[in-house]
Amino acid sequence: MNWADVFDYSDYGRILALVSNSVIACAILGIVGGLIGVFVIQRDMAFAVHGISELSFAGAAAALLIGVDVLVGSVVGSLLAAAIIGLLGARARDRNSVVGVLMPFGLGLGILFLALYPGRSANKFGLLTGQIVAVGGGQLWALIGVSAVVFAVLLLIWRPLAFDSLDPDVAASRGVPTRRLSLVFMLLLGLMVAVALQIIGALLVLALLVTPAAAASRVTHSAVMIPVLSMVFGLVSALGGILIAIGSTLPVSPFITTISFVIYLVCRDVGRTRDIRRFRRAAEARTLETA
């Protein structure tokens, strides 16, 4: 294999202009994905995200088969999965088994629809592993619109949702409508998964909806800094991924997943080093006290 065939940045400017839609979509997805990821971590829902994305994939594949817009199909699949998980799996343990049951079913359905689909196989594969460069003008506006709605609603319910995620007993006593709130969150999550699927693929959604927030909560514990850092990490991963990918013949997904993984590793290390230093200082303080 010749690397020059894989990476070629000689016409970068021209290609960048051609795919500017995809670049914008990636940037927005990175930011909103990072933001919603904060709650995915706090509410312990990483596995649920994966389950929703498989049903979203089934919806997208069905849409491809019957000739409907793929985004519409994946939104329908996502929302259905989110509603089922939200209604049946209020408690974490129930939720995991509900997801475990739904996920293979969704994936199986999706594979069935793709097998029946007579079109090009590259399109098929794209639903699972990402096909960002295929984002067209009309679809771009839909992605931006959905992301903007998720962002805005998330901001408006931020404090009650955080209260319910971190301290549910006191939140309920303070009048936070915990059940309705968790259903609204599931719907937002479903929408965001459907959007992410268009860009990074059903199998890799976690890299944008979980990894940035997980990385952020390794380096800070502040309720303000976690979402801010998570959005920055999401943006860097998604934008960095596509800017590298457009100069290559490779799909965008491995670049996004690798960048977000490296960020996570660095954050883990920074967090650990700081913890060790803090423990050492605390231990020293104790010995001084007893001395």
């Binding site: 904060v38 971590i41 706090q42 209020a90 408690r91 901001l155 408006l156 319910i157 931020w158 404090r159 009650p160 955080a162 209260f163 971190l166 301290d167 007993d169 006191v170 939140a171 309920a172 006593s173 303070r174 009048g175 936070v176 059940r179 909560s217 514990h221 502040s222 309720a223 976690i226 803090r278």
Partner: protein, 286 residues
């Protein structure tokens, strides 16, 4: 009528049933400002459920609960609540002041920006539990006693008239227990009415006004001398229970009370011993 004339909390003929089991029936109670009432009883006797009823999270089978003369409703900011403690694990994504701020602004929808009044209220609450040094530390890094001080700060950040504390001393060592009791006593003296669920009444014997003792679906309300006696508890449990009172030898400290022979698992199925909260949550989701 000044607001000091109305009891902070009153219950009239209050009965609560959870899963067909009567936790208490016909409970009449009135708590005044600056009074500390201890809620005692074995596991599963309905202490936490009584709190949940006061908070509007549980519906009474009969009777009513009033806060300052009005029917109690869910989310009333004049009640502060410290639930039974679960220790927060390391890595909890919040600092001490974030926890207290949630008590102030956590139920508000809208753009999440704290105003100046909110920040000042949080600083005041943190100051009044002497937790300034904990404000910027991750909650998961703190000891049980430190977390409990912050929980109390969270509960009093709106300067409530009634404070509900669910076993605030459990899992604390003696020194931390002493600090929390002292803190609660200060709040009580400044006019807050306090309901205090306790496993052991002795740490608060010096400040407790009256006792609500729940057991076997029945209850006793009265002073320590009225409720914590062999006759009264034996009658309540329907079996011989011994209460021993040891007065402080020096005559300066408070007495200590010991109860022996309580049938902890006597009259209900062990499966029902699980936390009242848990049962209530199951029922809501059913």
């Amino acid at each position: 009528m000044s607001r000091d004339d109305v009891p902070v909390l009153t219950t009239h003929d209050a009965s609560l049933r959870v899963r067909g089991r009567t936790l208490f029936a016909g409970l009449d109670l009135s708590v005044d400002a600056g009074e500390l009432v201890a809620v005692l009883g074995p596991n599963g006797s309905g202490k936490t459920s009584l709190f949940r009823a006061i908070l509007g999270l549980e519906r009474l089978a009969t009777g009513s609960i009033e806060l300052l003369g009005e029917p109690a409703r869910r989310g009333d900011r004049r009640i502060g609540y410290v639930p039974q403690q679960r220790i927060w694990p390391r890595g909890m994504p919040m600092l001490g002041r974030d926890l207290v701020m949630m008590g102030r602004t956590g139920a508000r929808f809208g753009i999440p920006v704290a105003g100046r009044a909110d920040r000042e209220a949080v600083a005041r609450a943190i100051w009044s539990v002497r937790a300034e040094s904990l404000a910027h530390r991750p909650v998961g890094d703190l000891s049980g006693g430190e977390q409990q001080r912050l929980r109390i700060a969270q509960a009093i950040v709106d300067e409530p008239r009634l404070l509900l504390l669910d076993e605030p001393l459990s899992s604390l060592d003696l020194r931390n227990q002493g600090e929390i009791v002292e803190l609660v006593d200060r709040l009580r003296e400044s006019g807050t009415a306090v309901l205090f669920i306790a496993h052991d009444v002795n740490p608060i014997l010096g400040s407790v006004g009256r006792i609500v003792y729940l057991a076997q679906g029945r209850h006793r309300v009265g002073t320590v001398d009225e409720v914590l006696t062999t006759e009264s508890l034996s009658e309540l449990y329907g079996t011989r229970v011994e209460v021993v009172r040891i007065d402080d030898a020096t005559g300066s400290g408070p007495a200590r009370v010991f109860v022996a022979g309580v049938p902890e698992h006597g009259h209900h199925h062990p499966a029902q011993d699980r936390d009242d909260d848990e049962v209530a949550r199951l029922e809501r989701s059913a």
